[in-house]
Symmetry: C2
Subunit: 237 residues, 2 copies
DNA sequence: GGCTTTTAGTGATCGTGGTCACGGGTCGCC
DNA sequence: GGCGACCCGTGACCACGATCACTAAAAGCC
């Protein structure tokens, strides 16, 4: 069976490959069973919005396939991307737990699939399954540390080149498959600019400069990191 | 009895004036009793460090008197102040709960007093008193939202004047005593600069400019906000 | 295959805010 | 009182990156 957008529907993406930070993985069978009852699965095209900054929290989304960008923007239209979420991530958890409006907008940047768990059902489920509630608390704590890192990056590193280098190193470390020195580029320069708080043109120039300085090399959509120590020295915080 | 630095020692600053966000206020008598057993009180001079960024978490500090600045700094010596903590605030809670190194440095900017609760004792106490654990979770969530606001400020508002206006408005809203249009200035220009990610000189110039534009007026150490709408229009995010 | 739309690269210009330098003011301390 | 440490104000200079403008390339789309 083929879903729209050439995507295979996954029967149950709650039972995902083990990744330590996955909130809903490696749970007791009873909990998984209950989760399957209260979740609903949907397929999303590229550019679909899972939720929008400022909306009342309806519940959480567990990303099964495809990636989503989390962003927030100002009245003047300037946008910052705070995170690129990958399959396994739980989106909207802070807003849902504390019952405040979603603080970010979640938009699919690839076609994908996600499970939705409504707020009421989730809270009820958490009360019954304390061990999952603990996982949620840990996730909240991790979110805080991630946000904190972002503050350090934005507040302490002055130059775009520094932030750019930090972003590249972050990508090379979190590379899911194989060689940590090659990174598949999937974002536009515009999106990269929104991640490091600069402009598209500056990102273009940074790529040129880094290539010229032999720090990186570009083959197709794959970026090879040629001089990791130099990059690390630029970051050096 | 007089403590050093002309400070009265407070017998029990856990029973503080009610402020909604105070984690340890308005607790059942049994919990307060237990807290008093596991806490220890100390007096700190100005510039004393409660804990330092990167240290293993020893426990939490409940600030009773005096204020502390929370800051983080980069290898090159650049520093950002993320928060000015007031009496009643609990410091070091994220690190202590998640057992990661303190992410900030807490330094007294006035002589003061704080209760210390060691990590083990606190965790044991939380297990016995679920209602306090819930308060802690709420506090963690608040911390996240505060951090998130900081990211928006740093990432979205380009100009120092915008961030400066936002800071002033924040102060005027959180003014503890009376008139929200007058603010007691207690930080040096240097510290203000570290809060909005700019330099001391720029802060000086911003004060001059805002005074010239009749936005604010300075009498001694008190700042009067003369044109709040104009300030809000500058922020406008 | 040719069309529009999106993404990338690059030059020219210009403003903002960082940096450096210096003078004056205030507080605390021997 | 006088000295030193720490703040605060302001001018001059300059580099960096935002903005604008335009072309080129690549990617969807009938």
């Amino acid at each position: 069976m083929r879903a729209p957008y050439g995507l295979n529907i996954l029967d149950n993406c709650l039972t995902c490959p083990v990744r330590e930070e996955h909130v809903f993985c490696n749970l007791p069978a009873a909990a998984v069973q209950k989760l399957n009852e209260i979740k609903s699965t949907a397929v999303y095209p590229k550019s679909a919005m899972l939720f929008i900054e400022g909306q009342q929290p309806r519940g959480v989304f567990v990303l099964c396939a495809g990636r989503a960008k989390l962003s927030t923007s100002s009245a003047e239209g300037k946008t910052i991307i705070t995170k690129i979420s990958e399959p396994g991530d739980v989106l909207g958890i802070n807003a849902t737990i504390s019952n405040r409006p979603y603080e970010v907008t979640a938009e699919m940047i690839e076609p994908g699939q996600a499970n939705f768990i409504a707020r009421d059902a989730l809270l009820h489920f958490l009360r019954e399954h304390g061990e999952v509630a603990v996982r949620i608390a840990e996730q909240l704590s991790r979110n805080y540390y991630t946000a904190y890192e972002e503050i350090r990056t934005l507040g302490l590193s002055a130059s775009p080149s520094e932030k750019f280098a930090k972003l590249l190193l972050g990508w090379s470390n979190s590379t899911s498959n194989g060689d940590p020195l090659q990174v598949k580029l999937t974002l536009t320069h515009e999106e990269i600019a929104e991640m490091i708080g600069t402009t598209r043109e500056t990102v273009s120039r940074l790529f040129s400069e880094f290539k010229k300085r032999q720090l990186v090399q570009l083959k197709g959509a794959t970026l090879f990191i040629r001089n990791k120590p130099a990059l690390q020295k630029m970051v050096n915080s």
